[in-house]
Symmetry: C3
Subunit: 294 residues, 3 copies
């Protein structure tokens, strides 16, 4: 497996065809410059298959801070430019895919930091959800809140047994943002169950997630999961990749439009919630209880 990227002639014009259909995004600053070398991710590309594997590596819990999210986002954008075919998202940890937003960065933070964090989350979601790449989440550990967001924003989810997955924002006093809600509904077979899940912060086991349709397959090892990921990517014929990408974009266009229209309002809800004294007090206690568990 070579590191860095080949040009695959059959779909080399993927990005230039697809780009004009992309919804124009208002510019939101990302918290980090794009020139920093990767710090929390490893990217490898198989030259033979055109499949990239992006491994999340911010121990212990792959908690999503602005720097980490910016890195993931830029990796995806780079892979698009390099005309890679498919992307597998996985974790270097044996235990945690991602525990979600780094709440430490929400505690006693100034407005600029809070805004940077939430915009990084929005931007990461937007990039992953709309990428023309074929995306697979290889969930080899717990995928909670923002971790589950990464999974449901992908096109396919393969999970290892005995882990937990779910969107539990309400448990820390946060409303589920509407774009994450739409993304979750896009995956779950039933709106009725989706509403209950999101309002009650339901956490599924790997096995119940499979039954509920929240994940597509289980695999008994990371090896097997990688094979299944490649099989999903191979279900798309190479000569259909441009038409496939436009079809995917059109399928997801309304959710992206709603996000763009609602982006500032979504940020405002987060900021006003996070700046409440009661929320900060809760966060302080919560973070202390996490420390106590160690």
């Amino acid at each position: 497996m070579a590191t860095r990227i080949i040009h695959l002639p059959k779909y080399s014009r993927l990005s230039c065809l697809v780009k004009p259909l992309t919804i124009s995004a208002r510019t939101f600053a990302t918290a980090t410059a794009s020139t920093n070398p990767p710090q929390f991710t490893t990217l490898s590309v198989d030259d033979r298959t055109g499949i990239a594997t992006l491994t999340l590596n911010r121990p212990p819990a792959n908690a999503l801070n602005a720097l980490f999210m910016g890195e993931i986002q830029r990796s995806i954008t780079d892979l698009e430019k390099e005309n890679c075919r498919g992307l597998i998202l996985t974790s270097s940890s044996q235990r945690i895919f991602s525990a979600g937003l780094d709440l430490k960065e929400c505690y006693k933070a100034d407005v600029a930091s809070l805004e940077g964090l939430w915009c990084a989350l929005q931007n990461l979601w937007r990039t992953l959800f709309s990428t023309p790449l074929i995306t697979v989440a290889l969930i080899n550990g717990h995928a909670i809140a923002g971790g589950c967001m990464l999974a449901v924003s992908s096109e396919y989810r393969i999970m290892l047994p005995n882990f937990k997955i779910g969107v539990n924002e309400t448990m820390v006093g946060l409303a589920v943002p509407s774009w994450l809600m739409d993304t979750y509904i896009n995956i779950m077979p039933s709106r009725r169950i989706a509403e209950w899940d999101l309002t009650s912060s339901r956490i599924y086991s790997s096995e119940s997630a499979l039954k509920a349709g929240l994940v597509d397959e289980l695999a008994s090892s990371k090896e097997e999961a990688l094979q299944k990921s490649a099989a999903f990517i191979d279900s798309f014929s190479k000569r259909t990749l441009m038409a496939r990408a436009i079809t995917k974009q059109q399928f997801r266009a309304e959710i992206l439009r709603n996000f763009e229209q609602n982006r500032q309002h979504d940020l405002d809800i987060y900021l006003s919630t996070m700046q409440k004294p009661s929320m900060q007090e809760f966060l302080g206690e919560y973070l202390q209880s996490l420390d106590a568990k160690k």
Copy 2:
């Protein structure tokens, strides 16, 4: 079980946090003043659990007229202000949850009365569908048309066996209003089946409704159903109630927006249908046939 309401400190600011997100409604007059004492409903609140039970009590069929609907709506609004946690909607009848709109009030009625009736229905739906309260329909009898509307507008449905449930507006010559359609689709797992149900006035038995996903659980007695209702309400942690309420509202926001935009048009369709001589003739025959059955 005490009658009237406790203040539950954990979620006491529920309504003030949630209200600003509520869609601004154009003012539509309700047919009754808000100062009348309850006539067709009984409201009891368990101080210990914060769970209210609203019992429909307009014999023989809980037919929904403007007065009755206004009463239900105001009870919900009052409970929100009093910061109650959950609401169970049930019937005092052993046989009928609600048979739907009171068609007697549609027969030979003047325009103002027809308008009052339909606006009361719209307002009741809007209030029940968007309330921050945790809502359960305890369907201890037939739930037809407007009766089924009450059920699908709630977050959870527990039904006793051997009853009927469904939206059969087309059987009396009425188109299903678009907000009820959206509410029905929000519950049913399949749009394909939802369309067939609504266009063909399909009525389900309790058992087939469970299988179809139209209700969530069956219970063999009202007692058991009350226990299951409380269990659903308890699936929401008390400290998540504010975030839960905003999440519920955002989940249902698009349907509420569509309703507001379409509200006058929806009223116009109803009025023009009801004022057709053929419709009035049909209603006369229909009401006579109901009398004959007694």
Copy 3:
């Protein structure tokens, strides 16, 4: 079975009631004059039941060219005016329901012809999808791409065993148009599966289509399928037909609105894709390979 149409008093005002709700369409020229006699279809109406059977008859594959599609569309419009109750769409072939768009007419065609073809497809879809008639697709052969479009635009699908069905536009380098996407999602129980199907050009067998919810019933013979089609149409009480038609229209209104807003853009995508030299080159090879199979 008599040929031509009776007036059924119970629903004779169907079209005049329903028409005002129809979304106003911008005028797009159809490729053929409406005075031509039918050439590729047979229409028979059972006077007793009010059920019309429209048989596609353009051997060998019922490939959809502008003339053929205009004919199907006008037949539907005529049946609406004549106040027919239900429509069964089937094929004269024992092997193919329809293989979709006639790609021969896309090869080395001038812009006017390409535009005429795509507008005829849009118009046919719009008419079939929005008709107040009760529509059944009796799929007695392969239903591929545009053939599958005819099936999913109908209200009910009965399929004979051992055939293939699916939307495989991406296999010939075309993005799935957004209105077809919405129509497919309207039928399939899961958006997650619908997206995979449309992006990967999945083709189902009759049996797997039934299991996936893409078709509603299988029938072992055309005779049995005709009986099942009539049973579906009879599931709608005759006196509900007006309310049924408005309910159907409202159920499908948002998809129709999105189509109208996006119509020109949808045409532009098709035209720009078809005029690419690489696309024309591919088409040439593809058509040659089809000829070779004969």
